[in-house]
Amino acid sequence: MKELKEIIIKTRRYLLLNSKGEYQSHFLGEGLDFRELREYSGSDDIRHLNWKALAKTSKAMVNNFNESRQLSTLLIYLNSGGLIVGKPKSKKEVAIELLTSLSYASLKDGNLVGSLFFDNRAIAYYPPKRQKGIVDINYNLAKGLNPLGSYIDYEALSNYLLKHLRKKSILYLIGDFMEFANLSNLAKFFELNVLIVRDDLDENLPTGEYQIIDTKSLNKKFINIDKKSAKRYKEALMAQDSKMFNLFKRDGIRWKKIYTNEDIIKSLILFTKEP
């Protein structure tokens, strides 16, 4: 509980320091913020017809507004085995910090906040609502999860979300994304923000003889890591990452790599305030 308080205090501080404005959603919606004038299509609400424009151009035009109020935010905690890695702070701790901080910040912005805990299936799902308890719930739930032995099924995740979340929402995915993740399907329907939690060990292998253990399958093996293989590994990982990021870019997904040794909440708040 002490940690939770600490996280919240930190979040508040950074929110205060960086209060430039509200979150800019890319969604069209019921907001007050005028965005554009567009030709009427059958699916539009006739209440938004711009009569003046209709008179001038003799074409049915519709007013479009930015969605500004009551954004629904869903925080997705991806409980993969890799989260236990990390020194001195594990990736799990960082992910919890991110989740808690985000929950608090979103709530503070007056959004509807929900959360989903997922590995290869849904562990727990709280649909976006105006609920104050969500910060505590998220914190405690994430804390209680043991990531060792679990892996993420991204396809199952998109299927689950498409089935259960009808409302247009902003999705925050918190995970280590050590494997290639294709989120194109989700990106079509939701606004995606990906927070990639990484530890130095994930990218730079130590050299020497080790018994390596797979955090997902718990397989074990003795290997000798030399400088060459460490280098080769890093190159392979970077290639995989850049391939994934290119795909994110194409799909309009925002992402941020957060390392365990950083000032996490600061990085997070800065990320959320980015245009």
Partner: protein, 537 residues
């Protein structure tokens, strides 16, 4: 090919276990993307581990010592004992019989290189020239010395010779006793009846081959001797065919040679070791950046083991060091301040000394103006002693002792085994101690004095009366300077044992050689322990 230490192979599964279990000491590493790590790390580790495995296995095989067991047919031990009886009466001078017989004997001796041979001559009486011995060189030397009438030449002590010859077999194996008798006359001494001779021969199971030369011998007697003992009689009219007769005897006896099996091993441990060393070098190069000290150490130990092959103990004989004994034969050696005279005193001392010496090849030189080789280095002391008894220095040109020519001659015998020189001398001929030491150059010098300090008077070449005495100071200085010892004169024989001990102790082979026999195994074990330790870290 078998393994001398097959149980060592159990180390291979032990190493494998160690590799599996001891490795748990390696720190655990949880990885978020194991597959990617495996993909990147796989090959580099595996071939080095593979190399190390091969190295360990080949080292273990080297320790297990693959060797080929060979059954050698050895008949040195149980070969023939052959006594060669040679008539040395005057009549043998006829038609160069004696010289031809000597030549024939020499080639016979050369052919019987696995047998023990003895030589006996007879004339007025019978005399053993050499007891049973393997050393052919001694026999040749003695043969060269033999001449007709060396033991009196008017009579022929044939029966006595055979009787005495039979005694030569006393210490020999019961099987394969052969006597070859060459004579050109009949028994004229008649001190031993033929019946008794035959009885003696039969009881000792000696086969006698008799060769009659010329026409004076009694054919029936020789035939009887040969037939009753299971030998054969040969008659030749001219001495030219002697060679062929000895050859036919050689052939006759060859067929019956009984040989025994002796196991010996030829080692092949070097081959796996060589493989290991090559792979170690390779591994060291591959791990060059890591500067792996352990692999370097293993390589060093393997190389040491490679260059320390097992020493064969039976090479001991060759390892004997040499002792050359030089006896002064200058004229002053005839002086009688020592009993019976200086020279005979020296000979007597040497004869006694030879009883106690061990592990040395002893050669004998005579020196005055120039140097005479009496006997090349041999370990057959018995032959040497026989030789010493018959030494005759009447024909030798004898002037003053010349030390530098002696040392020059001795230097020719120097070889990789240590050589030492023992000189019987008065020391009057020594001029420059430093120069002599320089010439000796590592040869240890022992000196036994052959004169009293008081000396003895003699008439020198200028017809002046002078005294020859012992120059003790120079002799002892020279001996000490060359790592040897100057022995004090002792007219009794009580000092012989001490002298023999001094010579033998210092010159005998190093016994530790025998125990370092399998040093390579220990070296390789150390190397292996290091390799095991590498698994433990």
């Amino acid at each position: 090919v078998i393994l001398l230490y097959p149980y060592t192979l159990l180390l291979i599964p032990l190493y494998w276990l160690c590799d599996r279990l001891c490795f748990y000491r390696a720190s655990k590493l949880y990885l978020s993307n194991y597959d990617l790590v495996l993909k990147s790390a796989s090959n580099s580790r595996d071939y080095k581990r593979f190399l190390e495995y091969i190295i360990v296995i080949s080292l273990i095989f080297a320790i297990a010592t693959p060797a080929k067991r060979e059954y050698k047919l050895l008949n040195t031990q149980k070969g023939y004992s052959i006594a060669l009886l040679l008539d040395a009466s005057y009549s043998m001078l006829e038609g160069k019989r004696f010289t031809r017989a000597k030549e024939a004997l020499k080639s016979f001796i050369k052919a019987r290189n696995r047998d023990r041979l003895a030589l006996e001559v007879f004339g007025d009486y019978a005399q053993v020239a050499s007891f049973m011995t393997y050393q052919k060189e001694g026999l040749f030397t003695i043969l060269d010395y033999l001449k007709p009438a060396i033991v009196g030449g008017r009579d022929t002590a044939l029966n006595e010779a055979i009787f005495l010859g039979a005694k030569l077999f006393d210490k020999e194996e019961e099987q394969n006793r052969v006597m070859i008798l060459l004579t050109d006359g009949l028994d004229t001494v008649k001190n031993v009846p033929l019946d008794i001779v035959l009885k003696e021969l039969k009881s000792k199971k000696i086969r006698v081959y008799t060769i009659g030369v010329g026409d004076d011998y009694k054919k029936e007697v020789l035939k009887k001797i040969a037939n009753e003992t299971g030998g054969k009689f040969f008659a030749i009219s001219d001495s030219n065919s002697l060679n062929s007769i000895y050859k036919s005897i050689d052939n006759l006896e060859k067929a019956k040679i009984k040989s025994i099996k002796v196991t010996s091993y030829s080692y092949y441990y070097q081959y796996p070791l060589l493989l290991a060393t090559i792979l170690l070098t390779l591994l060291l190069i591959l791990n060059f950046k890591e500067r792996s000290i352990s692999i370097f150490l293993v390589l060093i130990f393997s190389l040491l083991a490679l260059f320390n092959p097992p020493n064969e103990i039976n090479k001991k004989e060759e390892k004997n060091s040499k002792l050359l004994v030089a006896i002064d034969v200058s004229k002053s050696m005839d002086l009688k301040d020592l009993y019976p005279n200086r020279f005979k005193f020296a000979i007597h001392k040497l004869d006694r000394l030879l009883r106690y010496l061990r592990g040395l090849n002893v050669g004998v030189l005579l020196f005055s103006d120039s140097v005479y080789l009496l006997s090349p280095p041999t370990s057959d002391y018995e032959a040497l002693r026989t030789l010493l008894k018959q030494v005759d220095i009447k024909d030798i040109k004898r002037g003053k002792e010349n030390w530098s020519s002696l040392i020059d001659a001795v230097s020719k015998f120097r070889d990789k085994n240590s050589t030492s020189l023992m000189v019987f001398s008065t020391g009057e001929g020594i001029r420059d101690i430093n120069r002599l030491s320089k010439k000796l150059n590592g040869i240890k010098l022992y000196i036994y004095p052959t004169a009293t300090i008081k000396g003895a008077p003699f008439i020198d070449e200028n017809e002046n009366l002078s005294v020859s005495y012992l120059v003790e100071s120079k002799l002892s200085k020279l001996a000490l300077k060359n790592g040897g010892k100057f022995f004090n004169l002792d007219k009794t024989d009580s000092d012989i044992k001490d002298i023999a001990d001094t010579l033998s102790k210092k010159e005998a082979i190093d016994i530790s050689d025998i125990y370092t026999d399998k040093l390579y195994i220990w070296l390789l074990l150390i190397a292996l322990i290091i390799l095991f330790y590498r698994r433990l870290k």
